[in-house]
Amino acid sequence: MALKGKKRCVAVVDQKTCVACGCCVKVCPCQAIRIVQGVVAQIAGEACVGCGRCAQECPASVIELREVQA
């Protein structure tokens, strides 16, 4: 109840343009990212702390931080 109405940031991948290089996986401090079947990066929203390191590292700049309900 204490978190009701609060927002937090999570990283979101644009799945259409992700090149699945795995640079994001390497820098994620929470091991919240994995490359699914060599096609696209997938971020586990509940594990992501929204630090933005993956977005900074992504060579294709296809990861962005979005606010979601906590």
Binding site: A20, C21, G22, K26, Q37, G38, P59, S61
Partner: protein, 192 residues
């Protein structure tokens, strides 16, 4: 984060490029960078090579990130479009088969060995100091010169985009990366 042995594969990539200046036949080792990613994608349906073992990507990451040689700007939109990525892959494959054709001509005796390295598919540089003649057929050396040209060209392109954009911008349009992702997509499609 804990470092693993494969985090140091950038040394192998650097060594590979340097060895080509001394003996061109070392260029044959570059085939590993072609076959290992293909094996990963075909046999396991993963981009495990890109994700973990690509020494070239690590080298760009180190130079651009660690040494701060990159402007860290976003790559332009067109560079990550499917048109460009697949177009570059097609161009790369055409040039690769052209290189194989030239190798065949030397093996067949229809063409003499050219001791040159061609950069960016246009600039032919004399490279005769790296070839002293071997026990092998000149065609073996011709393949080495051609393959090293491809490896050096892609390194130069990767370095340029590393400087201009993000450290590992090469990964966005790397033909091997695009090809293995396509294979993985096809595998996923077949299994779905």
């Amino acid at each position: 984060m804990k470092k693993h042995w494969y985090d140091y594969l950038w040394i192998a990539s650097l060594l590979y490029l340097l060895l080509g200046f001394f003996n061109i036949l070392f260029a044959w080792l570059g085939l590993l960078c072609f076959f290992i990613p293909l094996v990963f994608s075909v046999a396991r349906g993963s981009k495990g090579y890109c994700n973990r073992y690509c020494g070239r990507g690590q080298l760009f990451g180190l130079l651009g990130g660690g040494f701060g040689l990159s402007r860290r700007k976003n790559v332009p939109q067109w560079m990550k479009s499917h048109y460009f990525r697949y177009g570059f892959l097609a161009f790369f494959l055409i040039m690769f088969f052209l290189m194989l054709w030239n190798t065949y001509l030397v093996f067949a005796g229809a063409q003499d060995l050219k001791q040159t390295v061609t950069l960016l598919w246009s600039f032919r540089l004399p490279w005769n100091w790296a070839y002293q003649g071997t026990l092998f057929h000149p065609g073996v050396a011709q393949f080495a010169f051609g393959f090293y040209s491809i490896m050096l060209t892609s390194t130069i392109l990767g370095l340029i985009t590393m400087l201009l954009f993000k450290p590992r911008s090469w990964c966005v349009y790397c033909p091997m990366g695009t090809m293995t992702q396509l294979i993985c997509k096809a595998r996923r499609g077949n299994r779905a």
